[in-house]
């Protein structure tokens, strides 16, 4: 069980991980790493959800976290499929190269 004094630290950790993930998405150029950073953001959300769930003593947050895990898995399946498709055409793994339509 989570002690009440620890709760703000838990929320801060979640916010820190979320910010770290968001910065990674904005800074890193490798689409696989960008994808991992998005996963980090989603898991920060899970941490916040489970923390709140324990703090509030309500189960909804835990159920929500399970749903996030399932959807994140589905997103990874589609995402990796698309990424392998794009970069098997012979491009380098760099999101800055995705500029076919720039005018």
């Amino acid at each position: 069980m989570l002690s009440q004094a620890m709760f703000p630290w838990l929320l801060l950790t979640a916010a820190f991980l979320f910010t770290l993930g968001a910065l990674g998405v904005l800074i890193r150029r490798n689409p696989l790493v960008v994808f991992m950073c998005i996963e980090l953001m989603l898991n920060a959300v899970n941490l916040a959800l489970v923390g709140y769930s324990s703090y509030l003593n309500s189960e909804e947050g835990q159920v929500f976290a399970f749903m996030v895990i399932v959807v994140a898995a589905a997103e990874v399946v589609v995402g990796l499929g698309l990424l392998t498709r794009v970069f098997s055409i012979g491009r380098e793994l760099d999101v800055d190269d995705l500029d076919e339509m720039k005018q």
């Binding site: 998005i38 509030l56 003593n57 929500f64």
Partner: protein, 506 residues
């Protein structure tokens, strides 16, 4: 201080869903059944007969549409909550269902011809389209944070795959990757916002959240943060500036029939949930979020309209125009608390935008050539001589988007501007009027290009025949744009009835 949340735990422990709950979800269930059936049918239908899949999808959509219309009357003016407050069976949801289903239906009608020309006629297309439709319908009725999240992901993941549907084309693959990376990024913001809203109110269902919010005084900063983060995630889905960076590339890169669908239906579904959340559930925090929504609305109108001026691809131009239109609809949302005309105007605008924008993209779809989309302005030169009816239809849709009198677009803009003035926010209305004046330039420019002769040295474009299906879609969308512009009172009555019975109802 640990409090057992008796209110939230009670219904889950004692009740099970019954028939009345399933009736509230009937249109969605029909479409979901159609989605599963399409996946199986794809295995047994021979490749040369894939048009049957389109016919089957059409039949399912007509069925769901009929049930939605029946549901409009059955739900009644008050509506009711089904599945323990997770889903709304009300006129707002049924109104959205009708608009979304008509959009999907017209997309399905126009698709076989286009996909055959582009050699993209794979069976998954129809099941993915149906899955996205189910997601949108669920989103329009969702009144629980979890259902909102699941519905958004169902429609988004289907659309990620659909935008990359042209597997051999780099543009399409690039569009899919961009949409996927930025879409998941936005989903993460939406989710963090949801986590904060859940944590600070202790509930995931909108009715209970609204109640907890009206009791939470003094103002809770984490709750405000959660609301803003949720708005960021949703603003991405409706492609409002500054969260619009993906829109032009994805709209241009995706196969045109997919763009036609997602530019309209996604926006309708996402705006319905924005209305439900911000103009209803979060209404007691109005003074805390209104500035952000107004800023995003103004930025969308300015960025969308100015960027559209310099485009020379009609798909990109329509993408930027879509960003601007999102800004106009956001005006209605921003002033919608306490002023019913705001929400009514936004709903009217959504219906008008659905027909008009669908028509404009349908023209691009029926004109697409073998192997690639002909979306540059150069491809439009001389269209008036060769295909006068198609050119006239496109000109009409562009005039409606620009907001010329006696078209659907004019009354949409008129209503949201009137709502802004009613809310004593004249500056917001003036921003809208000013940016619409700018928009006339680029809409008329395209219209004029259709009258010009092709350049002497330019290769002659052989536009494909419009065909029966294409003509039918153009006729229906043009008629819709005209009817919405002429019978304004009728449509506004429908929008008013949809707005009046909104759940969760605070």
């Amino acid at each position: 201080m640990r409090t057992v949340n008796a209110l939230a735990a009670l219904p889950l422990a004692t009740a099970t869903p019954g028939w009345r709950d399933l009736v509230g979800l009937l249109p969605e269930l029909i479409a979901a059944g159609g989605f599963l059936a399409l996946m199986l049918l794809d295995l047994v239908v021979p490749p040369a007969r894939r048009t049957w899949l389109a016919v089957f999808s059409g039949a399912v959509l007509v069925g769901a549409l009929a049930v939605s219309v029946w549901g409009w009357y059955d739900a009644g003016s008050a509506g009711r909550s089904v599945f323990f407050g997770a889903f709304a069976y009300d006129r707002l949801a049924e109104f959205a269902n009708c608009v979304i289903l008509v959009t999907t239906l017209l997309t399905v009608v126009i698709s076989p011809g286009y996909l055959n020309r582009r050699r993209l006629h794979h069976g998954e297309y129809y099941s993915l389209l149906m899955a996205a439709t189910v997601g949108m319908m669920l989103l329009a009725g969702a009144t629980s944070l979890m259902v909102i999240f699941l519905a958004i992901e169902l429609l988004s993941i289907s659309l990620y795959i659909l935008s990359g549907f042209s597997r051999q084309e780099e543009r399409s693959q690039e569009a899919a990757v961009k949409y996927l990376l930025l879409g998941s990024f936005a989903s993460a913001f939406l989710l963090f916002g949801m986590a904060l809203v859940y944590g600070e109110t202790g509930h995931t269902q909108l009715a209970q959240i609204a109640e907890a919010m009206s009791r939470s005084l003094p103002v809770d900063p984490l709750l405000v943060g959660g609301i803003i983060l949720m708005f960021v995630g949703l603003a991405f889905k409706v492609s409002a500036a500054p969260f619009h960076a993906w829109t032009p590339d994805v709209y241009q890169g995706a196969p045109t029939s997919v763009t036609t669908f997602m530019s309209v239906a996604t926006k309708v579904a996402a705006f319905i949930v924005i209305i439900r959340l911000f103009d209803d559930a979060f209404a007691s925090y109005y003074s805390r979020w209104s500035a952000v929504v107004i800023a995003v609305a103004i930025l969308s109108m300015v960025v969308g309209n100015l960027a559209a001026l310099t485009q020379n691809s009609i798909k990109r131009m329509l993408a930027y125009s879509g960003i601007a239109q999102a800004g106009y609809i956001l005006i209605g949302v921003a002033v919608g608390v306490g002023i019913p005309l705001g929400v009514q105007g936004a709903l009217y605008y959504l219906a008008a935008y659905a027909f008009t924008n669908l028509g404009a993209f349908a023209v691009v779809t029926v004109m697409s050539g073998q192997g690639e989309d002909l979306d540059s302005y150069d491809h439009l030169r001389g269209l008036w001589r060769r295909r006068p009816y198609v050119a006239a239809a496109l000109a009409f849709f562009l005039l409606s988007l620009a907001g010329f009198p006696f078209t659907a677009g004019f009354f949409g803009k008129f209503l949201v501007f009137a709502a802004a003035i009613q809310a004593h926010n004249v500056a917001l209305a003036l921003w809208g009027i000013g940016t619409s004046a700018v928009s006339v330039f680029y809409y008329l420019r395209v219209t004029l290009i259709m009258f010009q002769r092709p350049k002497e040295d330019a290769p002659a474009y052989e536009w494909p025949r419009t065909g029966l299906a294409g003509s039918a879609v153009l006729l229906v969308t043009a008629a819709g744009t005209l009817v919405l512009g002429v019978f304004v009172v009728l449509v506004l009555t429908v929008a008013t009835m949809a707005q009046a019975g909104t759940l969760p109802g605070t």
